[in-house]
């Protein structure tokens, strides 16, 4: 009896929270894990996370927010940049990925080095070529700001400004960014129909791309070597840096093709500036002399010029205008 009362006290914050739910669109697989299992998704937490996401004061010199490199109009990637700008005129060493449908990812970053959405911000916040700040200083700035003091009190039961609450609030915002309203989704829901070209492109997609860029998420979240070869300046080995396993050399996470017309340039190092180049790579550019080249790419991909045009129109139907214009994801006033 006493145990039950004790538990009830612990779970009941002294104020009311507005619980919100992640949308699991019809026909989608269930998320591999519940990223909100220990972080109940609330409107209050989401709004705090949103403010933090857009706050450049979190960086060392006050110039860089999360949103500097993750821009809503670019599906939360960095528009038209191979690498993103960071502290003191530095650049990142990998192309900033779009942020959406994170609840369906088990690992984050191109090499999968991040094992939980909550701990991801620690990396860009502290990296010297990104926001370059210490966690101590971030918390100090937040504690000295009355609006944050108020928002942490609203969002969390004990109102403490600490790293755990900071990270959980950020996860509530980024984990809520979802893409499920592309033309493709609307066609699947019988709310719209493909053009002839899009329809032909979809067929080409299913034959040649869907094994790795698996619909409806347009990624299978695996790590693969897609045959582009090592970047000779960066020498980035990808997944191998995390696992230490030579079999993972040059493998990178398969990115989602949702919003792909907004997230260029392409590849982990942004070396390809157009989708045309990307398709050309898969048709004619694969370097077969790589021991870790993905087995699915060992057989030559045949896409005719006409099929390429149609495939491009299908890829354009993966743009989610609802998400990139959603006022809930915009910079707060």
């Amino acid at each position: 009896m006493i145990v039950a009362v004790g538990t009830a006290f612990m779970r009941q914050p002294p104020h009311k929270l507005t619980y919100i739910k992640l949308v699991v669109p019809k026909g989608w697989p269930a998320p591999p894990t519940n990223i909100f299992a220990n972080n109940p998704l609330t409107e209050e937490g989401f709004q705090l996370g949103r403010k933090l996401f857009y706050d450049a004061r979190l960086s060392k010199d006050g110039n860089f927010s999360c949103a500097s490199c993750h821009q809503q109009f670019a599906a939360f990637s960095t528009f038209d940049h191979d690498f993103s700008h960071g502290f003191n005129n530095s650049f990142t060493t990998r192309n900033a990925p779009g942020l959406f449908n994170i609840a369906w990812k088990k690992e984050l970053h191109w090499d999968g080095g991040i094992n939980h959405i909550e701990v991801q911000p620690l990396s860009p916040l502290t990296a010297t070529n990104e926001m370059a700040e210490t966690l101590e200083n971030v918390l100090k700035k937040l504690k000295g700001d009355t609006s944050y003091v108020r928002l942490f009190k609203i969002a969390f039961a004990d109102g403490t400004i600490n790293s755990q609450h900071l990270l959980k609030a950020m996860a509530q915002f980024t984990g809520s960014i979802q893409s499920y309203n592309t033309k493709y989704d609307k066609v699947k829901r019988s709310e719209d129909s493909f053009t002839v070209s899009e329809k032909l492109g979809y067929t080409t997609f299913l034959t040649n791309c869907n094994s790795c860029h698996k619909e409806p998420l347009f990624t299978d979240n695996s790590f693969r070597n897609n045959g582009i070869g090592e970047n000779d300046k960066l020498k980035d080995k990808g997944r191998m840096a995390i696992t230490g396993n030579p079999a993972d050399s040059l493998k990178f996470k398969v990115p989602s093709l949702r919003n792909v017309t907004l997230t260029g340039p392409y590849m982990h190092d942004g070396r390809m500036y157009s989708l045309n180049k990307v398709i050309e790579h898969y048709r004619t550019g694969i370097n077969f002399n790589q021991p870790t080249l993905d087995t699915l790419l060992r057989k030559k991909i045949v896409i005719t010029n006409q099929q390429k045009v149609d495939l491009l129109s299908f890829l354009m139907a993966l743009k989610d205008d609802t998400m990139i214009s959603d006022p809930r994801f915009r910079q707060p006033n």
Binding site: V5, I35, N115, E118, V119, L135, D158, S163, A241, G244
Partner: protein
């Protein structure tokens, strides 16, 4: 805030009772104290120069490690686990070098713990307390806790500023650097009354780092800070460092 704290304390105590089904058995406090030593002498940070078995000299500026999943085995073989058992032992902060366990009275035969943070907590998102990333024991680029951290300097080190830095971690598959230490009591430890004060002193003989199971020479590896590779071997070495010094039981004088 206070109410919540009290309730959770009560909850923990209730749990202990439920686990053991001892009902009204008194709860006793057991203090576990860690003493880091080099060559049998307690560690002095920065100032003192040590010599290892390879005749290399070194100083220690930082020494931190996790002790987690602490459990006590009763003479009847049942096991009591400390709930949410995560402790960061930090040489430069005396308060961190001991912790107290609340245990039901009974006869105990051994104490065991993990050096490091169990795999589950490595993949469970943002933590607080001993596991707060603020403690500088979390890898942000390849997630997971640093289980053991030793930093210092040595003239034998070939890197800039003659640094010596070992950040040891990794929790998955062959990279697992978690090590279990079991301290068997020479004689059964009888914890009787609440008033009795029991302290277990455990030594961590850091000089075991260099050769307990595998040879580690500063001149060859002055810096190692990633999961995998040598982490597991170095973990084998420091796991051998932990041993019982003594158990002290005192009757409380006041009543």
């Amino acid at each position: 805030m206070m109410l919540i704290a009290k309730c959770s304390m009560l909850f923990l105590l209730m749990q202990l009772f439920l686990i053991t089904a001892f009902g009204q058995t008194p709860v006793v406090t057991l203090k576990v104290i860690f003493i880091n030593t080099v060559n049998k002498v307690p560690v002095v940070l920065d100032s003192f120069e040590y010599t290892n078995c390879w005749n290399e000299t070194y100083t220690i500026s930082k020494l931190k490690y996790y002790i987690s999943n602490v459990q006590l085995q009763l003479a009847n073989k049942s096991v009591l686990k400390e709930p949410e058992s995560y402790h960061l032992i930090n040489e430069e902060d005396t308060a961190t070098k001991s912790f107290s366990l609340s245990m039901p009275a009974g006869t105990y035969s051994s104490l065991s713990f993990l050096i490091g943070v169990d795999s589950l907590k490595n993949v469970s998102g943002a933590q607080t307390g001993a596991l707060d990333p603020l403690n500088g024991m979390f890898w942000t680029w390849n997630n997971g806790y640093i289980m053991f951290k030793l930093e210092g300097n040595s003239p034998q080190s070939t890197v800039v500023n003659n640094k010596v830095e070992y950040h040891i971690g990794g929790f998955a598959g062959p990279n697992n650097a978690l090590r279990t230490v079991t301290i068997n009591f020479a004689a059964p430890l009888i914890l009787l009354k609440k008033e009795n004060n029991t302290e277990i002193f455990i030594q961590a003989a850091i000089d075991k780092m260099w050769n307990a199971k595998h040879n580690l020479k500063i001149v060859e590896i002055p810096v190692f800070m990633m999961p995998g590779g040598l982490s597991a071997a170095i973990a084998d070495n420091y796991a051998a460092a932990f041993a019982l010094i003594k158990i002290v039981q005192q009757q409380a004088i006041h009543h």
